[in-house]
């Protein structure tokens, strides 16, 4: 796949506020790329630079090979779906969708045909003569996407387009958006702070923090192999133990967690005395009742502090002896059909060695 957008060394500051630090990012043709990060991380600024509403203080942006760094938004072949949709309130759905084509002086017959096709595609053909305020949030969302997509942009930019919708609608729209992207074959650059949304929709995720890209990779990469503890914390839940390496071999490291020595995989040529974070996802943690097991080596004792029933899973918070708590997600399955835990029950906690992620401390720590 070729690169449709190449971002080279882009920096942006607002006064003394550095919003983006030397961003380098290649976006492949036809992919669904998500810029993920907490508010203030620069993801929206980057999107606005791609759309042309902001200009970078340094660096260049290539759009299908052409330098568009100084091209204004009205002349760029990209379209933006705004966070609050920005549908023109005085125009009907039809007129909203037709606006871009009218700007290009497309013949009337062609406008009619293309707008109707587009409205069919987003299942809004019955609503063509309605005004935006007569539509539900999900319908407005679809109009906003139709209005942008009808211009056949090289890249469609989406600025937190689902944040105004309620949970169920958001899940449906995620599926619809992903489906639309596959059918159209247009590159989507999607901005969100919702990590679940990012993981479920994207081909690749760029995790941003304080104006930099921390990690770029597939959803599986960033979830299972976070490059630093910040990414591990931001994406999904994580139990993180801070510790020091006491012994290493070529394949293994030994660390002390809660007074117990664990032998773990040496994933990154770690050396003795290095400070590391041991990251374990809640779903990788097993919680056993006292009566269920005999051999407790490699296990940590604790007390069940909270039981949260979630339908398909049971989430536990277990307080270890040291006082720190660990969250664990238990699935109903054939081995363990009734996951019943009592509050204050004494339990043993373990995980499969090798399923943890060992991370070096970051420079800033």
């Amino acid at each position: 796949m070729s690169n449709i957008i190449e971002i080279k060394g882009v920096s942006k500051h607002f006064g003394d506020d550095q919003a983006l630090h030397n961003i380098n990012l290649n976006i492949k043709n036809g992919e669904f790329l998500t810029l993920l990060g907490p508010s203030g991380c620069g993801k929206t600024t980057l999107l606005r630079i791609l759309s042309g509403f902001e200009t970078a203080n340094s660096g260049t942006i290539l759009l299908s090979g052409k330098d568009v760094t100084d091209i204004p938004p009205e002349e760029r072949h990209v379209n933006l779906v705004f966070q609050n949709y920005a549908l023109f309130p005085h125009m009907t759905v039809f007129e909203n969708v037709a606006f871009g084509l009218r700007c290009k002086h497309t013949p009337l017959i062609e406008i009619n045909e293309r707008v109707n096709n587009m409205l069919n595609m987003v299942k809004l053909n019955k609503f063509a003569i309605r005004k935006p305020h007569q539509l539900s949030g999900g319908q407005q969302q679809r109009v906003a996407i139709a209005r942008a997509v009808i211009n056949e942009p090289i890249v469609l930019l989406l600025d937190e387009p689902l944040s105004a919708l309620d949970y169920h609608l958001r899940r449906n729209m995620q599926i619809e958006l992903k489906d639309l992207q596959r059918r159209l074959g247009i590159t989507f650059v999607f901005v969100t702070h919702d990590q679940e949304e990012a993981l479920s929709m994207s081909d690749r995720v760029a995790v941003m923090h304080a104006g930099c890209i921390d990690q770029l990779g597939t959803p599986r990469d960033v979830y299972e192999e976070p490059c630093n503890v910040r990414v591990a914390k931001f994406i999904g839940q994580a139990n993180i133990f801070d510790t020091k390496i006491v012994h290493t071999t070529q394949k293994t490291i030994q660390v002390e967690i809660e007074g117990e020595i664990f032998t773990l995989k040496n994933s990154d040529e770690f050396a003795v005395d290095e400070n590391v974070h041991i990251v374990i996802r809640p779903e990788d943690i097993e919680v056993w009742g006292k009566t269920e097991i005999k051999d407790t080596t490699g296990m940590l004792p604790g007390i069940v502090e909270q039981v949260i029933y979630k339908g398909s899973t049971v989430d536990l918070i277990v307080r270890l002896h040291s006082g720190r708590s660990v969250s664990a997600t238990q699935f109903f399955n054939e081995d363990d059909e009734n996951l019943e835990y009592d509050l204050h029950e004494k339990v043993w906690v373990k995980w499969m060695p090798g399923w943890e992620v060992t991370l070096r401390h970051m420079d800033t720590e």
Binding site: P73, F99, C103, K104, A148
Partner: protein, 278 residues
């Protein structure tokens, strides 16, 4: 507290009944009576006064007044819209000052301001002296006591009534609509015509009504700046009461103008409601 509420509302009610409703009823009654030299008015009741409204002389005055009011509204809109747009979109520290400049003229009586305009426009006034001194003209312009002078005076006097509602409206305009239009490839002109004007239309209409209605009946500006040459509705009414001593006719013209204005406000109100429920 309740007693105070009743007292204050009661006072205003009484005040309005005595000084607004009662005179209005008297004017309506008068308009159906016949003129009399000794007693101002006399019976029998008649529709003749209203019938007379449709003779050519009165219709010409009506059309002239509408023409002046419409021109004045247009001038205020053309001058006021860019000004309101700039101060509403300008987030700088000069904004309160600029708004204050619009409001300051309200602190002076509009009669005095009209005299000031006379001083500027008259044959040996400031404008002519300046233009002569600069050598742009060689004979003084005769602006004062002309239709142009009346138009200048009315437009100047009513401009703030155009700017303030426009400002309030444009300030509320969400700039993401403008961004969205640009993103979709709209030029500046298209964005202005298709997005900004329709979205600020209610401000344009409010401002236009606030200028048009007073411009229809303003009488001292045509007298002072137009000389006796430009007879407008306001002057006509004043004339009927004070000079011709024909109170029933004056009352009939007043009622007619009031109805005309009410119907315009009603149409505006209807169209506003319609656009809200659409």
């Amino acid at each position: 507290m309740l007693a105070f509420k009743r007292f204050s509302i009661g006072t205003i009610w009484t005040w309005l009944c005595v000084f607004a409703l009662l005179p209005l009823i008297l004017v309506i009654l008068t308009s159906f009576l016949t003129s009399d030299i000794n007693h101002l008015v006399k019976f029998p009741a008649t529709f003749a006064n209203y019938g007379q409204l449709f003779n050519d002389a009165y219709l010409r005055i009506l059309l002239q007044s509408i023409y002046l009011a419409a021109s004045c509204t247009l001038i205020c809109l053309i001058i006021g819209y860019p000004f309101a747009f700039i101060i509403a979109r300008n987030k700088s520290r000069f904004r309160p000052l600029l708004l204050l400049l619009v409001i300051i003229p309200f602190w002076t009586s509009s009669l005095i301001r009209t005299y000031a305009i006379m001083a500027i426009l008259k044959t040996k006034g400031i404008l002519n002296s300046a233009l002569l001194a600069m050598g742009i003209i060689h004979h003084p312009l005769h602006i004062l006591y002309s239709y142009t002078a009346v138009l200048i005076g009315t437009s100047y006097d009513l401009l703030p009534f155009m700017i303030l509602p426009l400002f309030a409206n444009i300030e509320k305009l969400d700039s993401t609509y403008i961004d969205a239009a640009r993103d979709l490839g709209a030029s500046k002109i298209r964005t202005f015509i298709k997005i900004i004007i329709p979205l600020t239309l209610s401000g344009i209409i409010s401002g236009s009504i606030l200028v048009f209605l007073p411009a229809m009946t303003m009488f001292f500006i045509p007298i002072l700046l137009g000389g006796a040459k430009n007879l407008l509705l306001g002057n006509l009414i004043e004339n009927q009461f004070l000079t011709a001593n024909n109170w029933p006719m004056g009352a009939a013209i007043s009622i007619f103008v009031t109805l005309l204005m009410c119907s315009m406000i009603f149409l505006y109100w209807k169209s506003k409601n319609k656009s809200l429920t659409e």
